[in-house]
């Protein structure tokens, strides 16, 4: 026995992981159609789960981005109802009272002016008011709501003798005004009013998008404003938003705290998100079922593969393969098949998420845990699906190569 042969003999029976991988890849490479079809089941399951998680995460990220920009410390104060069911107006000094509190950073409000309509010009019939409300602004509403102007400015230095108005996004669209020029003016309460600016939509106060804003100062004389705010917005100290929320009603109206309603607009958005989360759970379940069916498909494919390859197993046994080598070969093949489907699923799911998120204007977020979890699931599925076929292959007798024709 030569020296080389002697060294070889001592290593007999060792099949490196890389060789096993090569065997698995080869086994799949020579049966491409079957591989694609059976990996497809896994791919669909994983893609469904990744897309569901990805879309939900992207939506969450979009909301988080909005909330980060707007802040979650905004509190909204509005008139509540008394015992008798009447609406209790907010006290006239609500805004200054809130502004004086230490736990409130800033506060502003609007008072809806009843009975006044807003028109594009003086020739529009009185009935065609377009549902635009006239709101008198107390305090720095733009700052409190983080309102952006898409055109013009918030109430600036008076550029003309006319009173000024700022339009909400919907109100501006209704009036057909998309840009502010020095000459832009509208008709309110029988007088011309200069348009100073147009606001972007207000995510935390969508009820104000169809409003036309005028300063409270002067509104009493010009438009008949009664001095009572109807919506007040306060920025609470971020550390104690919940506590402040509980205190505000009494602070605003010590005599009748029940007549004051306090809410937190960011809660509404979060609640909406929670509703979507339960829907996400359902879709995940459906994806899980698809994954299970895909796993059964892989097991089925592997069983058939083993049946077809008795001769190959026989040849390998004749070449010196142990039962373990045969079992490992088919197990690796099953794992690869499953992993291939899983990888394709992750890519498809990611692509679906990206397309959907971009079309919604959301950031694209595919959580790493979802990708890792998806791939881990496919490994588990591949292992389980391959276990039975592989152990069957390992039991094929070595004489099969000779018996086969």
């Amino acid at each position: 026995m030569s020296a080389r042969a002697a060294r070889d003999r001592s290593r007999t029976g060792r099949v490196s992981p890389r060789d096993l991988l090569g065997l698995g890849v080869f086994g799949l490479r020579t049966r491409p159609t079957r591989v694609v079809l059976s990996a497809l089941g896994i791919a669909i399951g994983i893609a469904a789960m990744i897309a569901v998680v990805g879309i939900s995460s992207s939506s969450q990220a979009a909301l988080d981005r909005v909330l980060a920009g707007l802040g979650t410390n905004l509190l909204q104060v509005q008139p509540g109802q008394s015992f008798s069911g009447d609406t209790v107006p907010l006290p006239e000094d609500t805004v200054p009272v809130l502004q004086r509190r230490d736990d409130v950073d800033e506060a502003a409000g609007i008072g809806r002016v009843a009975g006044q309509n807003v028109y594009r010009n003086d020739r529009v019939p009185a009935g065609a008011s377009g549902g635009i409300s006239l709101d008198a602004v107390q305090g720095d509403l733009q700052s409190v709501l983080r309102a952006e102007t898409v055109s013009g400015t918030w109430f600036g230095a008076a550029s003309s003798d006319l009173p000024q108005v700022v339009l909400g996004a919907t109100a501006a669209a209704t009036l057909g005004i998309d840009e502010v020029r020095p000459t832009t003016r509208i008709w309110i309460a029988g007088r011309w009013v200069a348009v100073a600016g147009i606001l972007a939509p207000l995510p935390l106060a969508p009820e104000l998008d169809s409003s036309a804003f005028v300063p409270a100062t002067g509104a009493e004389a010009q438009f008949g404003f009664d001095g009572h705010p109807t919506q007040v917005y306060a920025r609470a100290d971020p550390e104690s938003v919940t506590a402040v929320r509980d205190l505000l009603a009494r602070a605003v109206n010590p005599a009748d705290p029940r007549g004051v309603s306090v809410s937190r607009p960011s809660d509404a958005l979060a609640a909406q998100q929670a509703t979507e989360a339960s829907f996400t759970g359902l879709l995940l379940g459906i994806g899980g079922v698809a994954l299970l069916v895909g796993g059964i498909g892989v097991a089925n494919t592997m069983v058939i593969t083993v049946l077809e390859r008795r001769a190959e197993v026989g040849v390998r046994r004749a070449l010196g393969a142990r039962r373990r080598h045969i079992r490992d070969q088919f197990l690796v093949e099953s794992l690869l098949l499953s992993l291939l489907g899983g990888t394709a699923g992750v890519l498809i799911g990611g692509a679906v998420t990206a397309v959907f998120a971009v079309s919604q204007g959301w950031p694209v977020v595919v959580p790493v845990w979802a990708v890792g979890g998806g791939l881990a699931a496919t490994v588990v599925i591949g292992g389980l699906s391959g276990l039975y076929p592989a152990s069957r292959a390992a039991r094929i007798p070595p004489t099969s190569a000779l018996a086969a024709v």
Binding site: A5, D8, T12, R14, S16, A311, V315, L319, G320, P397
Partner: protein, 260 residues
Amino acid sequence: MSASTTVTGVDEAARASSPPGTGGDEIVLELTGVTKRYGDLAALDDADLVVRRGEFVAVVGPSGSGKSTMLNVMGTLDRPTEGTVRVAGRDIGELSDDDVSRLRADHIGFVFQHFHLAAGATATENVADGLLYAGVPRRERVSRARVALEKVGLGHRLDHRPHELSGGEKQRVAIARAIVGEPTLLLADEPTGALDSTSGAAVLQLLHDLNAGGTTIVVITHDLALAASLPRRVHVRDGVVSAAPPPAGGAATQSAGVAS
């Protein structure tokens, strides 16, 4: 019962101490009183056979004679119901399934009638597979596979896949796969059975060349003419092994001689 075949008087000491490479009387394969039963049917009945290093033996018999069973037993693919099988000095009966696999990887090369090559793999890859379970690193497997292919005259077909090869060429690849591990014993099952006569003759010539180079070969065949061309013949009929052709069995040359 059988007429016991050929050679007797196995010298234990000689077998154990026979130094490598000196050839001659080193026993490579030894069947002693081997019986294989399937249910009530004895496919092989009390067979004895000794094959020494460097021999070229034909195991010949009609289909159903038990020669396939004999091949399975000789190749350690199946275990006998009774009797002992020794390959390269090791008693199969004492070995576990893993050890027998290891013995095959180290000592036995198989050539099949229907080649059994991997369809999508090149000639080199197919031949390299012959070393896969012998623990040879990949790079070395490939280089040794090339050498083996050149040895069987396929140096120009290294990267061809089986469907690009003729039947004779496929069988040469299969032979290369069987010899790439330098086996102690090469077992060929009807190696020319699926080939036309020209290719068959070429494959047979290749086996003769390998034998001349020192490879111990046992060919299982039903082809009396092929058997007649080999130095030594062992006849199998109804599970019984004999050195001479059975009386009823046709015209083949008799006198099973001991080779070398």
